[in-house]
Subunit: 183 residues, 4 copies
DNA sequence: GATGAATGAGCTTTCATTCAT
DNA sequence: AATGAATGAAAGCTCATTCAT
């Protein structure tokens, strides 16, 4: 799955063929289908895997006994860290999952396949509101800001447009986000 | 080009065939190729067209003699208005252009093909800084926030996750953005 | 269609590939699909073609002003003549159409695709009954006898089991059939 | 073998996979190959099995001390009884064995694999001739009539075209056959 | 400029068969 | 004897692109 993830993220879903994946895994084409019934289902399993992975990371942060301000920074930091060390994960999320909806229409409607991740963001937000740090606004307004922003930065990095490394933006960006969301 | 734009935006680049487009235009397949040398080039022309269109809209706002706060709101408003009345434009931007980089790698590297649009955002930002309303931070930190946020919201709408109409979020979102970017 | 018919009849439906057919027609694989949307649909068109062809032959006999006994002989004769001069037609009927029902299930249920042929046999039978030559029995009992018999003989010939040529059996067989069906 | 027989008869040879069969037998794919060297050979063994089974039934009738007229009726009756109670046997005979000759070409040329069955029909016929009840005609003319007729009726039944149950046709059909074959 | 039949490489998927365990 | 993961050739089908008219 890791192999397929990397290929999809770098070449796109449609430009990555099953033989491409099989070769990268040193496995036969036929055997691929013993594990994943179709290319679409492989794509679904991958996004679930990523959602679970990122969800776990956020959960670890949510469980910490720190202020929401610090959590905000920690989330930005971990997101960019993943984007730098496992760029295929974030790329897959942005470029395969978010963009090729026809692939995920059948089994990942709404956000079921990224449920674990979204849930943790929701927890972050609601606890921030409860603790009095964040304004009580529509969750999606906040979610869109946070995730749209982070996604946008990773995208810009991917386009080689950002002059600095992603991790150098952590302060700026977590500052902006917290400023936007705080009471 | 409008016909192709709609098809690409709704079905995706790879799931839209040249015959599909030709039929929707009541034109022959062969004749399509008299106007666009390849499917990729058609896709490039479309993103340039969108960039020019949105750039023009932003330019009109930039030229207005209003505060940056008001401009911020105006940009959010026009972005969501386009997303509601010509959803194919924003969808194309988010789902075709941003996501299928392999298509645009050759002739749209960096942001050349969306240059007109980005330039206007830059003007908005720099004038805001010059007027003392916006903090003087890295442009891309600001750009990512603004555009990532707006894109994220349109995406959530597209997934039928947002409970309200996009235009009802204009106040919340422009408030958040301005709050984040202002001094 | 004639080319595909011959290949199907000689090699079977599943052992005949689309490239096989395309090559035999000196046509490209892709172009095949401009004429027949799928292999199954090609198979359906062929059986309709055969049914129409054989139906026409029977119609010519039915229209003749001869006794049912003579018509019986004429039908056997024409059937065997087709089996000898265009063996692919009868073979297709027996070995592709009658046997691979899964292919024809969707669009040829019942006998719709061989309607023209069956109708003429029905006319032969009903006129024979009306004229007093044939016993008035269940049509299908008679149809099964007539067509099962002829099909069986062609099958035996195909297996190289028959010691003589098919046309040498015309007398024997039409005699047997008429004997069985007559009052 | 019974399991494979049922699957082949209902889904066709090519649409039945070895894993399908293995699952239905609660056996592993690999172990299947310990018993049958290939799918084709399995198919051959099955037709031999059916031929032996039907041959035995006919033998029992042939051994009876009854008139050929009564034997004729008994054969029709047993054939239809098998078609009703073990439809997979007759279906296999008609739809797999008779139709997919490419499968049986190598090891079942002529009628070697259905030898036992054909032999009994031959005995029936020759004794009928010897006893003076049946006309002394070419055996294959008689065989084609008998078996083509019965096969045709079962086919019509399979297509849901026959208005009545098969066993209700026994009288009509054995009457027709005897009428056709008798002196 | 306009047409659309024709091309053929390339795709996803299937499945008979093998073989290490 | 029994297992089932692995193989890989081959299938049906698609579609960007061409080109004679």
């Amino acid at each position: 799955m890791q192999g397929a993830l990397e290929l999809f993220a770098s070449k796109g879903f449609y430009s990555t063929t099953i033989p491409d994946i099989a070769i990268s895994l040193k496995m036969s084409v036929g055997n691929m289908y013993n594990y994943f019934k179709s290319k679409d289902i492989l794509a679904e399993e991958i996004i679930k895997f990523i959602s679970a992975y990122l969800g776990k990371e956020l959960q670890r942060i949510n469980e910490k006994d720190i202020s929401t301000k610090e959590k905000t920074r920690a989330i930005v930091a971990i997101y960019f860290e993943v984007a730098m060390t496992k760029p295929e994960m974030i790329d897959y999320f942005l470029r395969i999952y978010l963009s090729n909806r026809e692939i995920f229409r059948d089994n990942c409607a709404g956000m079921i396949c990224v449920n674990e991740f979204v849930t943790e963001v929701m927890i972050y937000f609601e606890e921030g509101v409860k603790s009095g740090e964040l304004r009580d606004q529509d969750f999606f307004s906040a979610f869109g800001l946070f995730m749209g922003y982070l996604g946008g930065m990773v995208f810009l990095k991917g386009e080689h447009i950002l002059p600095r490394e992603l991790d150098e933006y952590v302060d700026d960006i977590s500052f902006n986000i917290y400023k936007a969301l705080s009471v």
